[in-house]
Subunit: 339 residues, 2 copies
């Protein structure tokens, strides 16, 4: 091909019910291989839309604003990566990348998951790698997306997704697969916003710091495989309590591994803790049952059954320090549109 064709991809954010923290040691860093597998729910409302189109020179704009410097360089590097992985020859043609994030950026709400998934799929479409996203194509694009951002590997699929860490040095077995579609189980995720603005410590540096200094890191990696299997079994059997319990354990274990890092990584604020306590207190007092999780940021995500979502959201809006509670359902596969 001589010119990229204009393509738009939409990918939905996802939240890990079984957490990912830490990269595999000793393998090619460019492959961005995780040390532990993860299991996620793709989210229906929170999504990124990205158009890749031919241009005079590379350009990136996000939510209508031109972005330069390091964030733009990461985007162009992903275009280069897709170009190379697709086996295309010659110099990559210049592209314009226009992205819209229907979610807060860099606040621990996985904007990089949906962003890098959408970018990878749009670039693949634009470079003529694929016209439609069948299973094998999704699996391949998932590994490409992962090299841009670990959690992006999961956002190529809708519903409930498992990403195994794999053992191969070339990373071919580190691929996300859908366990169940979005209609498998009528769950909701309440996204409880406890702060505004971007988080203070990025994930990549934090993971590396945990691997090098947290005395709990080896046990974190070793114990996560059982969590994955337990969560998958609970998901497939629709056992809400069992899924919630392992989900909370995985979350607290990840934050505990971060806390034992030197210097400590503390992504929570006071409102984070008050929301967690409120969810537990409501659960223990016989109110609508929710289970908490939280990523590398201060927000809390609460998993509940759809029928309980409105009441639980209402109660959590009343917790001091809560700015907003969004109710999100399981979301669809990422999609590609040739423009």
């Amino acid at each position: 091909m001589s010119h990229p064709r204009p393509c738009r991809a939409t990918a939905h954010s996802n939240i890990a019910l079984v957490k990912y923290w830490g990269k595999r040691e000793g393998d090619d860093p460019a492959l961005n291989l995780p040390a532990v597998g993860s299991l996620s729910m793709t989210l229906d409302v929170l999504r990124s839309e990205t158009v890749v189109a031919p241009a005079e020179r590379d350009g990136f704009d996000l939510d209508g604003a031109t972005i330069e410097g390091k964030p733009a360089a990461k985007v162009f590097a992903q275009l280069d990566r897709v170009w190379g992985l697709a086996g295309l020859h010659g110099e990559r043609p210049a592209c314009s990348v226009r992205s819209i994030n229907h979610l807060p950026t860099a606040a621990g709400l996985a904007s990089s998951a949906s962003g890098f998934a959408a970018l990878t799929i749009a670039a693949a479409g634009s470079f003529g790698v694929c016209e439609q996203l069948d299973g094998p194509t999704r699996a391949r694009l998932s590994t490409w997306a992962r090299m841009g951002s670990g959690s992006a590997a999961r956002s190529v699929w809708g519903g409930f997704v498992r990403l195994d860490a794999g053992v191969r040095a070339d990373g071919r077995d580190c691929v996300a697969r859908q366990l169940c579609g979005a209609d498998h189980w009528d769950l909701r995720l309440l996204v409880v916003h406890t702060a505004r603005g971007a988080k203070q410590v990025g994930s990549t540096g934090g993971m590396e710091s945990s691997r090098l200094t947290s005395p709990y890191y080896p046990a974190w990696v070793e114990s996560s495989a059982a969590d994955l299997d337990d969560a998958q079994a609970a998901l497939e059997a629709r056992q809400f309590e069992a899924l919630g319990e392992v989900m909370e354990h995985s979350c607290f274990k990840m934050h505990a591994c971060m806390l034992a890092t030197r210097p400590p990584l503390m992504y929570w604020n006071g409102a984070t803790l008050e929301v967690i306590r409120a969810v537990w207190s409501i659960r223990e007092s016989g109110g609508p049952r929710g289970f908490v999780t939280s990523d590398a940021g201060p927000h809390v995500k609460v998993l509940c059954e759809a029928v309980h979502a409105p009441a639980l959201a209402e109660q959590l809006r009343a917790v001091a320090g809560v700015h907003e509670v969004q109710v999100v359902a399981p979301g669809p596969d990422a999609s590609l549109e040739l423009l």
Copy 2:
């Protein structure tokens, strides 16, 4: 002896700079042997005063109120223990125990440390075990106090105290020793109260739960020995930053081990986290330098040099959710008075 003689003991609370969490496995539970050593500062203002005297029948009153049930049973059991350990024959004579706690009870402020130390010393005096507290006597009473409450072993000494876990099955090498007296270093501990009332989960049950279910427990135990040595070296050389760093690490590692327990042990509330963040933020912005620690409760203790204590206390009083900030200096040895 036929009758106990009236004796009063005063023991000061202590705060672990290197934390104790978990009991040694496989040894006699009655010996109450810790899985990890600890290093503490004894506190000058926070103390328990206990009088043991002959009586018609056993009785316990605390702060002027008669106490019955389980708390009283634990006190009488400690009297029995001291009687037995002293090698006294026949039935233990009945005693009245009157105790005053100059600190909040069961709120994660180590009232059991000063309480069981004072009780043990007063009982030993009362039963004629000792008339004065020389070094060997203190060491012996420290092991007796430990059987009532692990942290009580440290409160028999003033200043800065190290308690090694030891390896002997009979627990004779699990004994607290003073590293430096109260006048070694003009440090202050700010006790930042972030809640009122008693804590929700007792320490003993929590420790056992961590040992049985936290995947981080083995690494917690294994990594603590180095913390002890690092803290001792920093203490002896009066290196404030080094002591503060290992103190925070030990604290976060303990809370991380608790968080990874199933179900999770979360002793903090929102104000706890906001105080921790405030101490860090003041430190990073060039203000008075403090380092945080926190026990099995929501309060935060902040170590600082004496010269910075008033300004730091003032700033922490302004944090939302803080009820009170006490400024405490290194405290003296426990004492015994024959009445």
